[in-house]
Symmetry: C2
Subunit: 216 residues, 2 copies
DNA sequence: TTAAAAATTTAGATTAGTCTAAAAATAATA
DNA sequence: TATTATTTTTAGACTAATCTAAATTTTTAA
């Protein structure tokens, strides 16, 4: 078994790996709010346990075993988020912190039964895919709203940023998962976008458009 | 906030306090599978935080603040056990270990919503009372089967021992919560008991009778 | 009521995870 | 390509929780 801390490092490396081939010490330190020196210490430990591929100064990748552990944490995190929203009526901006704790509960049986109880959901409340018990999931083909051209439509299906502030903002302007949008105008100066959402015009910044994901 | 370990010490002291006025270092060490020296260190720390009343060599009691923390852990533990059995179909002998982890999830909101979701249950799957959000609960008047005299009846309502081995044994002989029993004969040599359970005669040892609780 | 036994505490180490400050390696650029 | 800047690692220290072994206090019982 791995410690709570080791699990958090593996999860951080996993998430950073989806954006970069190899993950650097500083990237990990930033994402875990810790210092580079602490990261180096932990990387040595994880390498000793064969959970990562690590050579000094060369960055790090997950080993197959490390990826397996990371995926099980991600699975637990997303299943718990689904549970909190669907069964306990949490809002989608309230679940992340709690799921950060719940994801470390070790019982394999628990998470599988929870999955069963909820009918094997495929996506969490933010549109992220939930890996199955073998770590498999179909990566959904999500594109940021900012990549759309004028007059195309799409369905809001996920977010790239999970901060409560962002999620609450989306909630407030009713830009939530499942809604259909149409791009009406793209401002070429600041890349802000005017959308059509349920017969209403809506103006969003480039930043929001970048972090909001749709399926076509 | 208190650490995971501090919470476990407070919980252990709480449980031991229900049986003894003042709790000794060795009792705590035994119940936590640790050494007396480690317990002394922790007692100093808990006393500094005003969670316990402690004087060297004199044993320990919970302060009001300490009892509040302990009760919140007990509440979480028992609510999670109820959830696991009622919603996720765990057996009553499988839930203790998992609940030992879940009881340390800190979100107050989570446990209150869970309570709500399950309809504010009053007793966990082993018949132990679940404190409400203010730490209040009515201590049920349970007596061990071993205290009954011949020809009296009672309803199985709880257990005093939570080991999987004991619970599985009860399950096997169908002596589970809710069933009515009648004491037919008490063996004066070894205090074993012959019971009537649903028209069948059943023989149990003194030890089992001591750890099985009934309401009249 | 004193000597032996038991319980408890202290002293001194150890491990996991973290930190700061300094050294070493890599990357960037003049 | 030589020098500067950045990144990463090492060295050494700290805290929380634990341990063993020795010392101290309390309890028991002769």
């Amino acid at each position: 078994m791995n410690t709570f801390t080791e699990e958090n490092y593996l999860k951080a490396i996993y998430h950073l790996s989806t954006q970069h081939d190899s993950v650097s010490t500083n990237q990990i330190a930033a994402s875990l709010n810790t210092r580079a020196a602490s990261v180096t210490d932990m990387l040595k430990k994880l390498a000793d346990k064969r959970l990562i591929n690590y050579e000094r100064y060369q960055g790090v990748t997950l080993s197959p075993q490390g990826e397996k552990v990371a995926l099980s944490i991600v699975r637990k995190h997303r299943l718990w988020e689904y549970f909190l929203v669907e069964k306990l009526n949490f809002k989608w901006d309230e679940v992340h912190e709690v799921a950060e704790e719940l994801e470390h509960i070790s019982s394999r049986d628990l998470v599988d039964r929870l999955d069963e109880f909820m009918g094997h959901p495929k996506f969490d409340p933010h549109g992220d895919p939930i890996p199955d018990k073998n770590g498999h999931f179909k990566a959904n083909e999500l594109k940021p709203v900012s990549s759309l051209s004028v007059n195309t439509t799409g369905i809001i299906s996920g977010v790239r940023e999970h901060s409560p502030a962002f999620l609450q903002y989306l909630e407030k302007i009713k830009l939530v998962i499942g809604k259909e949008i149409k791009v009406c105008e793209i401002n070429s100066y600041d890349h802000s976008i005017t959308l059509l959402l349920e017969d209403e015009m809506l103006y969003i910044s480039r930043d929001v458009a970048n972090n909001l994901l749709i399926t076509l």
